[in-house]
Symmetry: C2
Subunit: 183 residues, 2 copies
């Protein structure tokens, strides 16, 4: 029954969002489920595995949000929106995505998604993996910066972040278009 596993991860994410990542302890998570801390161990391996599971859960949620139709530009914008929406929905848990190694299997699905988009944009195949990684670094990192309050002099309101992100994306889209026509 990995229903229970999913339940545990769900509660851990909720706890992180409500009280910060530091509040995510085995004891606190188990308490939310009416169990003792040791009851979690059979379902998740331990604290580290729980954090990995949270990353996996976050990615899964994000990938479920991104629609897969429209022009490649539209799809790219949809993925970007999904990443930022995830970060804002999970301000406490999201930073795990950027701070934990990509051991999780779901992690690579974002790169695959981006690779698909770039492929249909006409990007030459040997360039696709590199550009996927560039974009995922930028998307994940930018959302993290917003959540973490990076950039002392950065955008102040969510609307300003939206505008900045849209402009960044337009630049990247132009970069990709130029790369395609250069070939």
């Amino acid at each position: 029954m990995d229903d229970k596993q999913r339940l545990i991860i769900e509660q851990a994410i909720a706890l992180a969002d409500e009280h910060g990542l530091d509040a995510v302890s085995m004891r606190a998570v188990s308490q939310r489920l009416g169990l003792s801390s040791m009851a979690l161990y059979p379902y998740i391996g331990g604290k580290d595995a729980l954090l990995d599971g949270m990353v996996e859960g976050l990615f899964a949620e994000m990938l479920a949000m991104a629609p897969a139709d429209g022009s490649w530009q539209d799809r790219l914008r949809a993925v970007s929106r999904a990443v930022r929406a995830l970060a804002r929905r999970h301000p406490g848990a999201y930073p795990l995505i950027v701070s934990r190694p990509g051991a999780a299997a779901e992690t690579r699905r974002l790169d695959d998604l981006l690779a698909g988009i770039l492929g249909s944009a006409g990007v030459p195949e040997p360039e696709v993996p590199r550009l996927s990684r560039l974009l995922s670094t930028l998307l994940l990192g930018f959302a993290n910066a917003e959540i973490n309050g990076h950039f002392g002099a950065g955008p102040a309101s969510p609307d300003e972040w939206d505008a900045e992100f849209a402009a960044d994306l337009d630049d990247e889209i132009r970069m990709i278009e130029q790369l395609v026509t250069r070939t």
Copy 2:
């Protein structure tokens, strides 16, 4: 005497690089200095302030590495090299840069440096702050991905990371050049 403060932060960074971030405890750091853990509190505020201090120390080290002469393209490449060199020199401590809010004063100096470079590239002033943030997100995030082993199918050897990073930077440089001539 914030000589002592610097000494503490130095040892904390060394400890992180040698034994991982989790090994950085007040007790372990103080032991490296031949002190009890409580002796650190007058010099640094506590664990959180210590971690912030480490971020500050890392940024300072990086900024000292980046030469400030040559064409704007050369200077941009120099900054990029400095970021990656920092990450590889501090594989344990570096991730703090990306996981901790930019409260540290030094944090913004990277954006200033990038803004200066973009300014001398001829980027229109209203676009400069946004592009500085885009570049710093990309540079810091990419180095973090390398350290953290993000991207399951990513580059395997340091040389491959070098090549990928150089290609990314060329793309960004072209993007900036195009943005300048479009004006």
